[in-house]
Structure formats: structure tokens, C-alpha cells
Symmetry: C2
Subunit: 364 residues, 2 copies
Amino acid sequence: MTHLPEIIAQAASRISAFDEVAAKSAEDRQNQLTKPAGSLGELESLSIQLAGITGQAIPKVFKTHVLVFAGDHGVAAAHAVSAFPQEVTAQMVYNFARGGAVINAITASVGAGLTVIDVGVASDLDAAIPVLHKKVGYGTKDWTVQPAMTVDETVSAFDAGYTTAMDVINTAPEHKFVVVLGEMGIGNTTSASALTAALLGVEPEDVVGRGTGVDYAGLQRKVAVIKLGLTRVGRGLDAFSLLQELGGFEIAAMVGAMFALAGSRCPIVLDGVISTAAGLVAAGMDPKIGRYFIAGHQSTEAAHRLQLEGLRLKPVVSLGLRLGEASGGALALPILQAAAAVLRNVATFAEAGVSDKETGEQVE
Amino acid sequence: MTHLPEIIAQAASRISAFDEVAAKSAEDRQNQLTKPAGSLGELESLSIQLAGITGQAIPKVFKTHVLVFAGDHGVAAAHAVSAFPQEVTAQMVYNFARGGAVINAITASVGAGLTVIDVGVASDLDAAIPVLHKKVGYGTKDWTVQPAMTVDETVSAFDAGYTTAMDVINTAPEHKFVVVLGEMGIGNTTSASALTAALLGVEPEDVVGRGTGVDYAGLQRKVAVIKLGLTRVGRGLDAFSLLQELGGFEIAAMVGAMFALAGSRCPIVLDGVISTAAGLVAAGMDPKIGRYFIAGHQSTEAAHRLQLEGLRLKPVVSLGLRLGEASGGALALPILQAAAAVLRNVATFAEAGVSDKETGEQVE
């Protein structure tokens, strides 16, 4: 397929190019602040990127939010590609809802909002728990033998992510949101690795890792399963079709959220391999989106380094994480806030009356 | 000299060993939390270290604070080892006092307290500005020709740092503080590099960097100056004597603060090369202190990697910073808070009723 479904084409039409003028203005200001030029390294680069994304030469205080999309994978139900049984997806959604998971602790600690969305958990969840119930299906199909999702399901999952992100943005339209996109789905590193191999044109062996902890035999099964999927779909498919064939409900939802955020000039923080696979899909569907991405962290999962290289992103932190749930991305949020705060609040040499390096004279 | 001055020996007597029992308890708990064991990487290690430092198996919510000690260096006044004139030290203290510097923006952003202390600025500062006035001297002596400080001055600067840190700790005795130690002092990378070369037994060429931005000729001058200093003091001096011979008021004050913090079981976050040179001195004076250190970040300054290897520390973030002012260390604070929050707030598999990996059975 070469045309994007109408709803996606509409979402794409809202996306503007990165604001090079705002970014240049931010860069110029960084060079006037009371510090040696360049001495804040990537904190300066991040502040400049935030300016270009938001279109604000001096980025205003922004709100932070984390979206965790949950979905199950037919490929995990059919093949033993995860160290954990599929029921854990639903159990972890309940854990999120009770506030007991890692991402609950981290979002509370860094002061970010958190919304958990069921877009494809394989079982019915209690309607009363505080998650958004936007289930598109009860897990995907086993993509070694058939498409993971129909086109309609893929569009519905995209729309679930899109509307969720728009609803967050609309809670405070006067602010920009910086949003981390994460997920929960037993077996979804296998789908993410398959997508990554297809989109980057690399071998399954290069993008397969131990996920949440499979052993060596499990690793071999993941490679074999991915080869089956890649052989089935063949070459030459576009990013949307690959998403439909090999993706997952939560991956499609993250892609939808990315379109919403980029269309609203909001920075998108990627998490680990599944989140970044969604990023590869979204950038494949609309290359403008790539400039809205910030790599929250470097995962230890094998595919992640290749994914970040493919997207030309440098991770904010590198702490050896491989959990998912948006945990690594959320840890980057205070650093992004600090980067913007420096640009916003630090005095220039002229303002502070501090001597300039070049002349050695006090600037008045 | 082989005996520490009495005031320092007393401070050392308060320092307990790292609490291995609390650390082991934290490690055991990490392995029961609802995530694959080890999947939070260094966030887990940090939480375990926080437990061992504080003696709290589950670290309580802690307060964060940043101390920036300012002092001038005779070696900078006598030799052109900095890209900036010496007056900038005082000018930057005024900038801190007005809230216009990078560390003001970062501490406000991460929610940390900030105290700036004049221990050795070369000029009189306005007594009305909101900094602690604990000046020991008007800059150190040029250590290429004589000791940077007298023993009495070194002890006084140590005491200034010690009492400052104790006063911070005593503002909330019911809490632990995690404190970042930073500095401002034109030319102080040269003193820090000299101390590092002497303490680690490496060549000046290996520990000299561009500081705030000297050119190639400046780099050569720094190397030559350090060689003069090292030749003058000779080999075999203990850490305290090296501090007195080659250090600075702000470096001695940071050492004093380290003794206070370790003696109160408070984690000490190091910043860049000057802060970490103080760490090498403190650990040289009392090896127990080394376990209380957390390397906030990896500086781009050449000596820093060797210093961290010498202290066996792994930096929390690596963002290409080379500013000082505690800026890199302060960026690590939200990650330390998140590390503790995970240990404190995440449910265990048993508590959450999430299936265990090994058995695949739901744990009740």
C-alpha cells in the first residue's frame, strides 16, 4: 500500500517542520550565557532542540506526561519468545492501576503525569480500574502466519493513541507537554525487533536481545520467529504496512500519539526498543516526525543502538535499563526541564556584568 | 606530615563504614520487585548504594542540596592558565547571589537547595549578598614557588566546609541530605590536575584539559606549571599535605564537607574535576569516605575519567559538561531520587499478584 489511510493523512497534515529559526535563536543565546560557550555540552543541544520543536526560542516551562500503552502479541501466545507468560501483561496493567509498578514510582518521583491505556490486552480488564479502556482487539494475530492486525485495527489503534495524546495536550492548551511513550506487552520485543529488522534492513540476529530475560534457547527462538515473519511479508512494504503486518496494538497506538504530539509541536521522548520501533515506523510514515524525537535513554537491548543510529539520536541517559514501561524515557524528563531552565533563566555576560573571555574586559 | 590535625581526626572519628547489611537487604528487595531482576541496571545499583550509605535498607525520601565553594588561585594570578581573568571568580559569586548562573537555574529546576560560600575569593565581597562569608584568605599562594596554603589555612578551609555541611544537615535532622559539592575558582582546574597527578601518580599531560577554554598554548602552560609544582613538592607526601601544597581554599572546604557528610551517613555527589580532586584527597585521608561518593556525571575534562577510575566510580549521567559549579552533579539528583523511590514504592511480585518468571505461576 502506498497511500496512508485518510485519518492518518489528516494527522500528518498538521505536522510542521522543525523551527530552524527558533533553534538558531536558542543557539545564539546559549553562546551569550554566563558560562564558557559549549561548556554545557548536550544540555545545550537539548535546549536548542526543544526550541526548534516547540517553536519557542526560549522554551517556556512545560508539563511532562507519560503514556503507557498495553497490548498482547499473538506471536508470544504461539511461540515461547518471552520469559514471562502472556497473563503478565494484564497483571502489570492492574499493577499500574494500583500504583505499584516501576513507572508509577518514577513518574511520581519526577513529577510527571501518567496515563495507562489498554489498546490490546488479551483479556477483559475490570472496567473500574483507572486506565483508559480503548481495546482494539484481544491481542494481535501470530504474524509468523498472518498479519498481526487488519488495516482497520491498525488505524483504530493509531487513533486510540492519537486521541489519547490530544486529550492530554488539551488538558493544558496554554502549555507544551513533553511526553514519554512507553508500553507493556509480553513478547513485544520480538515484534519490535521484527519491525526494526524490516525498517532498517538488518538481520534478525542483529536486533534480537534477551528482552525481559529469555535464555539462549529463547534468543534462538526469537530469531527463528522473526525470520518466519520477515519471509512471510517479503521486501518492499512501506512503514504503515509493516506496522500492520508485524506490529502490535500498543506500537500502532504509540505511532498515533507521535503524530498527535508532533502535530502540536510537543517533544516526544522515546523509551526503549519497542517505543523506538514505533518511532522508526512513524518517521518512516512522515520523516518530519523524526525531528520531534528525543531519545530518553540507551537501552541494553541489542536493537536499540541500531534504532537510535537509524534515527540519528543520542540518548540523554545511559543507565543499563531494559524494562520498558517508559521508565528510561521518564528519567530523562528532569534533564530536559533543566536544559530549558538554563536557556530561560541564566543571565548573559552583559546582563550579569561578568568579564568576557575574548577581551578579558568586564562587559557592562 | 603523617598525623592529621586534631579537628580533622575528630571529624574522621565520626565516619562509619558503609552498611553492607542494609545494602544486601536493598539488593534482595530489588530482586523481588515487579520487574525482571536487573532490568533497571544502574538505577538498582544506585538504590543499593544509597541504602548502604544511609544505613536505611529502604531509603527514605531525602532532601537535596548543592554547595558551591568559591576561591581564587595564586597559580592563576601568576600564570596565564585560564581563559578568563581572575576577577571572574568574584563576578560569578555575584551572579550566583543574583540567581543568574547555571547552577541557580539547575537547582531551581531539580528542586535542590543551593548555598554559595566564599572561602577564598581574592577580593572583598559585598557583605550583604546572600552567600556565606567564610573567607580564609584572598586567594592561595602560587604553588609553583611556595605552598598554596599554610597548614592553619588548610584546616580553616576544611572547617569552613565541614561546618557549612553540618549546618545544612541540621536544618532537617529527621531527613538525610544528598549533597552535591561544586566550586567556582578561575584557574582551579590547574590545581585540581596537579593534585590528581600527585595522588594518582600519573603524568601532568594525562590530567590536563582545556578547563573553561584555554587554547593549545594555554594547555602547554598548564602542563609546565603543574610540573613546576610537582617538582617543588617532590614525592611521598600524604593527601592532606598535597592539599595544603597544591590545593585551594574551595578544594579544602569540599574535603571538609565530605567528612561532615560521610560522618552523617549522607551521600556525597561529586561534580567535575575539581570536586573529584577533592574526593581523591578525602579518600586519601580516610578511605571509608570513598564509599559515600556518587559520581554525578562524566566531565569532558581529561583528568576526570582517571579520577573516577581511581575512585572506582561510574558516572550517573554523561552529557558532555565541563562547567563546574556543581552543574553536572546536580543533574544526577532526580535520578538518585527516582532510584530510591523505586526501592521504596514498587510492589513485589507477591504483593502485586504478578506471575513469577521462573515458575510461570501467579504468585499469591
